[in-house]
């Protein structure tokens, strides 16, 4: 049995396409102080900081943690930056978990951020490709996920259609209306999604996430601090990550094995046998609409090829049996480095009963998922109201 560890406070900035009043260290500070405030702690109570951002090329500052972390206003101390691409926000929360689970630290502040308006996001993402073989295509993220979505549609035709993706976009944008931090808060229809301009076939504009500026933070603590500071801590009960080879033709993008394995590991740790029945809510990293269905299948929230049925059934709606992305998801805000931590935060908030207008009744167990790289990194975190 490992040392019990919980999220006891969360903080987010409002996500916007361009944050002009504050620079990167300032938005990180904003989220960090909100999380400390939420946990009823002061900067001096923090033993260590874990910080996460996606490629530093986004903001053009190398080793950005050296610049950003001191702005949190803590006394000089341990700081570690995690850097795992799209999963980094979650990998940062997970590193915070291990800081505490190892017994080396008792109270850790985990922060993640991105200020995409400081650079050119698709340029930064294209730099991930191998300079000799792949970079000439410079396809960024939409083209890669376009391939993934096409593979998924073709594999399950006619049971999965483009309308199913549109339904995800409609559901998540509707949920975002209840989330004060979301960037895109507009009711849309399936017809509007279907007629929106093409981006990378089969993805249309409204199937895609926005680019965002924003930061997110969590206070992670051991049991005694957690029980003292928080009436209902969100305990880490399952943690799994998995990395996969970058060679795209090897990756089954429609049913990514890294996601399946990360989930298996987290479920095993959390003693979850039937995820679709035992989980009360899920936050998945759907940067593009079809991905929500793909992840739900790989996470075992529905059977393979049943993503279409899942979204049609209403089961993943806010008032369904297993709401998915009650926050509005990544489709409603995507400060890339923070997005995976936002999934953890939203899952933890649901367990803590602090999700506000999009709070789902009776959440005991929540899942947060993320993906990164060339659909090759996956993380799954399970939060519970009991150890």
């Amino acid at each position: 049995m490992t040392r019990p560890v919980a999220v006891i406070g969360t903080g987010q900035t409002e996500y916007v396409s361009r944050r002009e009043d504050k620079n990167v260290p300032e938005i990180v500070r904003e989220a960090g102080l909100r999380a400390l405030d939420d946990a009823g702690l002061k900067p001096g109570d923090v033993d260590a900081v874990v910080i996460g951002s996606a490629p530093e090329i986004f903001e053009g500052v190398n080793y950005p943690e050296d610049w950003i972390a001191p702005a949190l206003g803590l006394r000089p101390g341990p700081v570690m930056r995690v850097h795992t691409g799209g999963t980094v926000g979650a990998a940062t929360g997970i590193a915070g978990f291990y800081h505490v689970a190892s017994g080396m630290f008792d109270t850790v502040l985990a922060v993640a951020y991105q200020k995409l308006s400081d650079g050119v996001p698709q340029y930064g993402l294209s730099a991930c490709y191998d300079p000799l073989w792949d970079r000439d295509f410079a396809c960024g993220a939409p083209a890669l996920v376009g391939l993934q979505s096409r593979q998924y549609l073709d594999r399950h035709a006619p049971h999965i259609t483009e309308e199913h993706g549109a339904m995800v976009a409609v559901k998540n944008r509707r949920n975002a209306l209840l989330n004060p931090y979301a960037q895109i808060r507009r009711e849309i229809t399936v017809a509007e999604v279907m007629s929106s301009p093409p981006v990378a076939e089969p993805l249309k504009l409204l199937d895609c996430c926005p680019t965002s500026d924003g930061a997110a933070a969590m206070v992670i603590a051991e049991e005694r601090t957690a029980r003292r500071q928080c009436p209902r801590p969100a305990w880490f009960t399952g943690v799994g990550t998995c990395s996969e080879s970058p060679y795209v033709p090897h990756v089954d993008m429609a049913y990514p094995e890294s996601c399946v394995r990360a989930a298996q590991q987290a479920y095993q740790m959390a003693w979850i046998y039937e995820p679709s029945k035992e989980l009360d809510i899920a936050e998945v990293y759907e940067a593009f609409s079809f991905q929500e269905l793909i992840w739900c299948e790989a996470l075992g929230l529905c059977g393979p090829g049943e993503g279409g049925k899942l979204i049609e059934s209403g089961r993943s709606e806010l008032d369904g049996a297993l709401p998915v992305n009650a926050s509005g998801g990544v489709l409603s805000a995507n400060p890339i480095g923070a997005s995976a931590m936002i999934r953890q935060i939203e899952a933890a908030m649901q367990v803590m009963g602090k999700a506000g207008e999009h709070q789902v009744e009776g959440v005991h167990r929540a899942l947060a998922h993320s993906w990164g790289g060339a659909i090759q990194f996956s993380t799954v975190t399970i939060f519970s109201d009991e150890i």
């Binding site: 500052v61 190398n62 050296d66 000089p76 341990p78 291990y98 080396m104 996969e244």
Partner: protein, 378 residues
């Protein structure tokens, strides 16, 4: 608390490695580290790695290194910063009780990059960037402040280079393997006043990998482990102007945590060896003070006493240190591999008896803004 040992390690022969790719360097050290302890990649539960996007000219540089690290379908996470920080994270993973073994990988291929641009890009875009400050300029300001504050003579820093280059001549993995004289150092080209070429680390390609295991696994292997008994890491303020730049404050903080864990109260007596990251010669003197080997301002005296030389009370950088090979990102992890080899008496060739407890140090940021330390024991 779970006991964790470093059971295997490997480093490249550092230099300008034009014929190697990032992946081939990684593959080489991972294989060697595993075979050095009789393990296979299938025995590894988690891989923690360190790399630098700016150095590699890539976004998310791990995207393309997963296979070569052997991390395909494994738990894997990347740390930005020195590999010694990755080692600390790997240690946490095992100490949590959820993993039995971990592989730590760090690599850097500076010859493909512009070290100057790489360090200039570490400055913030508003205040320092317009000044064009890079790592050498920041270190020069620091060297000047340190010398001025404590009245340290020019010769003292040059003697650090002489000591470490002599040590590097005995290290088969070092990039610079020729001893230098005091005159050669003093007369070498000035980089940024007062730093001279032979007082600065070379531009190096290299990689390092380490295998860690919990006591149960480690005791089942046929090799002697280096037990981890303490670690610490710390970050000082960002702007060089807002720090006491003549002190390695982050190193002092990191070391004090490591000493507390390991029960070290008097470093000069309790440690048998130090491997520190002195990208510039004066930094080794500053580190003597910050790591508690001597009082503030007495680094020069300690060096001159011979205590930190080969055969001294606590030799520092028997490997030759960063001045003989500086594979950025891997430099601190190499220090740990060197420390492990010494405490377990598994060094190849050059052997020194009686080294039972050693500490490795890594530095990061401009003018040593950040530090990491790890203590290993026989």
């Amino acid at each position: 608390m779970i006991d964790v040992g470093v059971v295997g390690w490997a480093q490249t022969q550092h230099g300008t490695l034009e014929r190697e790719t990032h992946q081939s360097l990684i593959y080489m050290v991972v294989n060697e580290a595993l075979s050095s302890c009789g393990m296979s990649i299938h025995d590894i539960d988690v891989v923690i790695d360190a790399g630098s996007d700016f150095l590699d000219g890539r976004g998310i540089s791990t995207c393309i290194t997963v296979d070569s690290m052997g991390a395909h379908f494994k738990e894997e996470s990347k740390i930005a910063g020195d590999g010694l920080l990755a080692a600390i994270y790997a240690y946490m993973r095992i100490a949590s009780g959820l993993f039995g073994t971990a592989l730590v990988v760090a690599y850097g291929k500076s010859s493909e990059s512009s070290p100057r641009a790489q360090s200039q890009s570490m400055t913030d875009p508003f205040y320092l960037r317009p000044l064009g400050v890079d790592a050498t300029a920041a270190a020069a300001l620091q060297a000047r402040a340190y010398a001025h504050h404590y009245g340290v003579g020019r010769e003292a820093t040059a003697r650090v280079a002489v000591k470490n280059r002599a040590a590097g001549a005995l290290n088969a993995n070092a990039q610079l393997r020729s001893p230098v004289t005091l005159e050669q150092v003093m007369e070498s080209r000035e980089l940024v006043s007062p730093l001279r070429e032979l007082e600065a680390a070379p531009v190096t390609d290299g990689a390092c990998a380490l295998v860690m295991a919990d006591s149960e696994v480690a005791r089942g292997l046929k090799v002697r482990p280096a037990w981890i008994t303490g670690s610490g890491h710390a970050m000082d303020s960002f702007s060089p102007g807002s720090r006491e730049i003549h002190k390695a404050h982050s190193a002092a903080l990191a070391a004090s945590d490591a000493y507390r864990h390991a029960g070290v109260s008097e470093p000069l007596a309790d440690l048998d060896l130090l491997e520190v990251t002195e990208a510039f010669a004066h930094q080794e003197l500053m580190l003597y003070e910050a790591l508690g080997l001597c009082e503030e301002g007495e680094g020069e005296g300690l060096l001159m006493s011979g205590a930190t030389s080969r055969g001294g009370r606590v030799p520092v950088n028997l490997s030759g240190g960063a001045l003989c090979a500086n594979p950025v990102v891997a430099t601190g992890l190499v220090r740990l591999a060197e420390a492990c080899a010494r405490v377990t008496d598994r060094s190849e060739g050059d052997r020194i008896d009686g080294i039972k407890r050693a500490m490795a140090h890594a530095a990061g940021g401009l003018a040593m803004q950040t530090a990491a330390c790890m203590i290993v024991e026989r």
